[in-house]
């Protein structure tokens, strides 16, 4: 599959990060809000769309429903985990380039 080099949206990244343990939809909303200290508040329309998309791509999968439970639990798959790792690696590299560039810029200004 060609999902190796995909750049994730902020919402998708946070959803994958929240799924360190299986959670249902509302659990994901709360966890994302908590992880980002209240900065990222996902709307239910956005969350449901993202969940659908990631289930189709095979990054997450719904757990078999327990008897009587209306809310589906979602868990991260191996493929989702790999996707998350490559995204974090991409962001780490980006931060590295950014810091190096800013440091060089700062030094250059000092020289001037």
């Amino acid at each position: 599959m060609s999902d190796k080099a995909q750049i994730l949206s902020e919402a998708s990244t946070f959803i994958l990060l929240a799924l360190a343990e299986p959670l249902h939809g509302y659990g994901i909303l709360k966890k994302v809000e908590q992880m980002s200290a209240g900065r990222v508040r996902l709307g239910p329309g956005t969350l449901y769309g993202a969940l659908n998309k990631m289930v189709k791509k095979g990054w997450i999968s719904p757990l078999p429903a327990q008897n009587g439970a209306r809310r589906k639990l979602y868990k991260l798959t191996a493929r989702g985990h790999a996707q998350l790792q490559s995204e974090i690696a991409r962001l780490t590299a980006l931060v590295g380039y950014g810091e190096a560039a800013l440091a060089a810029w700062k030094n250059a200004r000092k020289v001037i």
């Binding site: 949206s9 902020e10 919402a11 249902h24 939809g25 509302y26 909303l29 508040r41 996902l42 709307g43 239910p44 329309g45 956005t46 969350l47 449901y48 769309g49 993202a50 209306r70 809310r71 589906k72």
Partner: protein, 266 residues
Amino acid sequence: MSMPQTKVINMSLTLTNEVELMERLEALSRKGWHPVGYKKPKPLKLWQPYGFIFEKGEPEARVYRADFRRGPKADIEEYISLCKDAGWKNIYSQGGFFIFYAPADQAARADFFSDTSSKIAKLRRQRRYILILNAIFIPIMFYIMLLLQGVFSSPDVNPYPAMFTAFILYTFYTFIGFSLRIKALQTPRPETHQGKVRKTGAKRLTAELNSIAVLTLILAPISAHFQLSDWHWSWEWQFYQGLAMLIWYGYFRISIAWRAKSQNLH
């Protein structure tokens, strides 16, 4: 205990009136009229009121949002319960359309769609639905048109091709409308609301009259071509077609105004 005051207001969610409808529902809630249900239209009794059933209550600042998605019943139930958990109550779910509402302060913290890409995804779902619907509907309409040839028409006057053309043009306009809204969301400007540029008053009237002029210019030659075998282009034809369209437009606007007035809303 007295029964709560209720009324049915003619309005339904279509592919093109969504933003306006949400604003109208918000305005009604600010006046204390809250939707509590939906009365379906009866095809054989169209004069009976259909639409949202409103109940008089305390004025509230609410935000209404529409979504569009189709899927298995279990998935839709899960979706509605997820929205309910997140504080968005469902008041309408029919034919793939959903309307949710939340108190305005909650919606300001987290809107129903919290990023642009999910708003665009929704418009794309609607646009694809138009395509699928018409891929089925247009051949059926064409077949019905062939069946009706000669029933309400003669070799000299045949309205069906023009009607068919008008329908296809309308579909095309709707489709282009969604594409424009997607484009507007991809390049956000402050005056757009959910990707829709709002026009009011004289500006809106001018825009509507302009689209009538364009439609007349396109439709008149086509319909004339199908109606008269020895037809040639003339200003007279354009004039009568334009006049017919203006009368139709006037009827449409007046009936909307009359209905709004009879419901004592605007």
